[in-house]
């Protein structure tokens, strides 16, 4: 029986999780497990509560992407009321979604992952954080803070509050956008576009130095899934589901999110609280697919906004077909930031945006509703059933991060096999295994929970009980 290495907790991710690496008798990594360790039970405890409470309650699943839960939930409620929202409300909701995309991607890229690029995968763990980045690379550090702030300010301006705003209600939004506020938001756009472009220019240059990581960070064929709009752009607030393969072929298209149960299954493994969605026609685990920024850029044939489009073309030329390395999630994230800023500008310039009619009302018309949108990390589905009084009787949630569960597990195995030399452990090796998870930017508060009283303490013991190597990560 081989030994195990535990990395616990994985740091600089949004949530708490740990990794176990199983070694065989030769000391090679044979298995890798990504454990997420919380279950919060929203799917059960919302039972008996009125549907109109759901948007505000459900957004509290996650403080990083509350807007996605707010919108998926409000859309599920729209479906219960069998109603459309006013045109202005539809656009305002879209802006809110894109603003969140910016803040969430900025958090992932600059606060959590850029320390690995700027300080180095093997840097002193004490410096490998946002404070280190700001000290050593002030322009990028402050730029990242500004981008995240911009996203949050747009949310605050529209919805009144940065984290867990109200505002979005079944049937629309509860306050239209004033001309003054619109103009204030528009004024900030050129500055943030410039920051995003600079970050892209810098990161593209850096890619050269991460060849080994690009080659081994969850770099394998898989399906990709996400929403695509009628005009063939990546959909964030609207669209139908598309699956493509690693050759770039469309495997399935125009699937209704509401029918997700026909093509998505969810498997359970004993070592983690996060379930494993898979594409049903291929079965489990062959139906592995990826979602999120990388998937979204792989799914479409154009990006849709002028500056992001140029970047998209360059991105897609990295490989002949789909871009397969999950290291490029980072790159894709920066392109999506640029896309989102441009797109917000487009919506703000549309005269509809300040129309006064921002909400319709209706009463309960359906007893079942599904709401779907693209969260920063991928497709998010809320599915509710209610009784005649509008009280929830059942709920199911498919969380963006969950879709990538199979890929994350396979990805850490690939990276661990490549980097972890069990006869001589180093901190940098293990940081690289963690960095695979960071590339996916899992949002574990959506599906998981704090863990971590076991410190990172690795002991490598030979079959006869001799201590071969030992490593501790201490503060």
């Amino acid at each position: 029986m081989g030994k195990t290495i535990t990395i616990d907790p994985i740091t600089r991710i949004e949530g708490h999780a740990k990794i176990t690496l199983q070694l065989d008798d030769q000391g090679e990594v044979s298995e890798a497990y990504f454990h997420t360790t919380q279950l919060r039970g929203f799917e059960k405890f919302v039972e008996g509560r009125p549907y109109y409470e759901m948007p505000y309650l459900m957004e509290r699943i996650c403080g990083i992407c509350p807007v996605s839960h707010l919108l998926a939930s409000a859309k599920a409620c729209d479906a219960l009321l069998a109603m459309k929202v006013p045109p202005a409300a539809g656009k305002l909701r879209r802006i809110l979604e894109l603003a969140q995309l910016i803040q969430s991607h900025a958090l992932s890229f600059f606060y959590l992952s850029s320390p690995d690029f700027l300080m180095g995968m093997d840097a002193d763990p004490k410096e490998r954080n946002i404070f280190g980045v700001v000290a050593k690379h002030p322009e990028l550090g402050h730029g990242g803070i500004r981008l995240r702030q911009f996203g949050q300010q747009v949310i605050e301006t529209l919805a009144g509050k940065r984290v867990h705003p109200g505002w979005v209600v079944p049937g629309g939004v509860n306050e239209p956008l004033s001309v003054e506020k619109r103009d204030k938001l528009l004024a900030d756009i050129p500055e943030v576009i410039e920051i995003a472009q600079k970050a892209l220019t810098w990161f593209k240059r850096e890619l050269e130095s991460f060849r080994e990581e690009i080659r081994t960070f969850a770099n394998f064929p898989s399906l990709f899934m996400g929403l695509v709009t009628v005009d063939e752009r990546a959909g964030f607030y609207e669209g139908k589901i598309r699956f493509t393969d690693s050759l770039g072929n469309i495997v399935a298209d125009k699937l209704e999110a509401a029918q997700y149960q026909e093509y998505l299954g969810e498997a359970v493994e004993p070592f983690t609280f996060m379930k494993f969605p898979y594409y049903k026609p291929l079965g489990y685990p062959d139906g592995i697919y990826r979602v999120g920024p990388l998937a979204r850029l792989n799914l479409v044939d154009n990006c849709g906004t002028p500056l992001a489009q140029q970047e998209w073309v360059e991105f897609r030329s990295l490989e002949r077909n789909a871009v397969l390395s999950s290291f490029h999630y980072h790159y894709a994230r920066l392109i999506e930031i640029l896309f989102a800023i441009e797109h917000i500008q487009e919506y703000l310039l549309d005269p509809i945006i300040t129309k006064k009619q921002a909400r319709y009302t209706a009463s309960l018309n359906n007893l079942e509703g599904v709401g779907c949108c693209e969260a920063p990390r991928g497709t998010l589905i809320h599915h509710y059933r209610v009784d005649e009084q509008g009280l929830i009787t059942w709920a199911n949630l498919i969380i963006a991060t969950g879709h990538n569960n199979l890929a994350m597990n396979r990805g850490i195995l690939q990276a661990a096999r490549h980097f972890v030399r069990s006869d001589k452990l180093t901190e940098g090796m293990l940081n690289r295994v963690e960095a695979v998870i960071r590339a996916f930017d899992p949002c574990l508060s959506c599906s998981t929970h704090a863990d971590g009283h076991m410190p990172l303490h690795l002991r490598l013991v030979s079959p006869d009980g001799k201590l071969l190597d030992e490593l501790r990560r201490t503060p």
């Binding site: 740091t11 799917e43 309650l57």
Partner: protein, 177 residues
């Protein structure tokens, strides 16, 4: 003056309180010369050090791991702050208290699963029967309500604590919002 040591901890919460901390934006950097962040989801330390001056705790206590962790934090922190409604009252996580844990697990892993239906247990924490606010388990020094407390509130609280004073919370924040 030596820097104060600061830890931020995440129990059963949504991370929104941590996001509100980051919503201080540049003010976080402005304050940073006054503290060393020795343990937090934002830095790479894997072990909580022995002497922490201020520990900000987000979330409620809902598993055996949380319980173990909060006791450890209490024993190592001089000032323990319950940050946000989940830590202060149980808030959203405590909504599961009206259902037995088994019913929760059954809904998620048996009823709402298509394959290999089973309740995961390997190397995983055990959920407590009742989710509790932090002060039901350990003594709390400062309570900061809000869901989440605003960035301005967190900034004032931190500034006061780093200056060695106890902030007047009533003037800063209230529940919910």
């Amino acid at each position: 003056m030596s820097k104060a040591t600061l830890a931020t901890i995440w129990l059963d919460g949504c991370s929104g309180c941590h996001m509100s901390l980051l919503d201080m934006d540049e003010r976080l950097i402005e304050l940073s010369p006054q503290f060393e962040l020795v343990y937090s989801p934002l830095v790479d330390a894997k072990v909580l050090p022995r002497n922490v001056d201020v520990a900000l705790v987000e979330g409620s206590v809902s598993s055996d791991e949380d319980e173990h962790k909060i006791r450890l934090i209490r024993s190592r922190a001089r000032i323990l702050v319950s940050l946000g409604d989940c830590a202060v009252t149980g808030n959203v996580p405590a909504m599961r208290n009206s259902f037995p844990v088994d019913a929760l697990l059954h809904r998620v892993y048996i009823e709402n699963a298509t394959l290999q239906q089973q309740v995961p247990t390997e190397r995983l924490p055990v959920l407590l029967k009742r989710v509790r606010p932090v002060h039901e388990v350990v003594t709390v020094d400062v309570f900061v309500p809000g869901c989440p407390p605003s960035a301005d509130t967190i900034y004032s609280v931190l500034k006061e604590l780093l200056a060695g004073r106890v902030p007047d919370i009533a003037a800063l924040s209230r529940f919910g919002i």
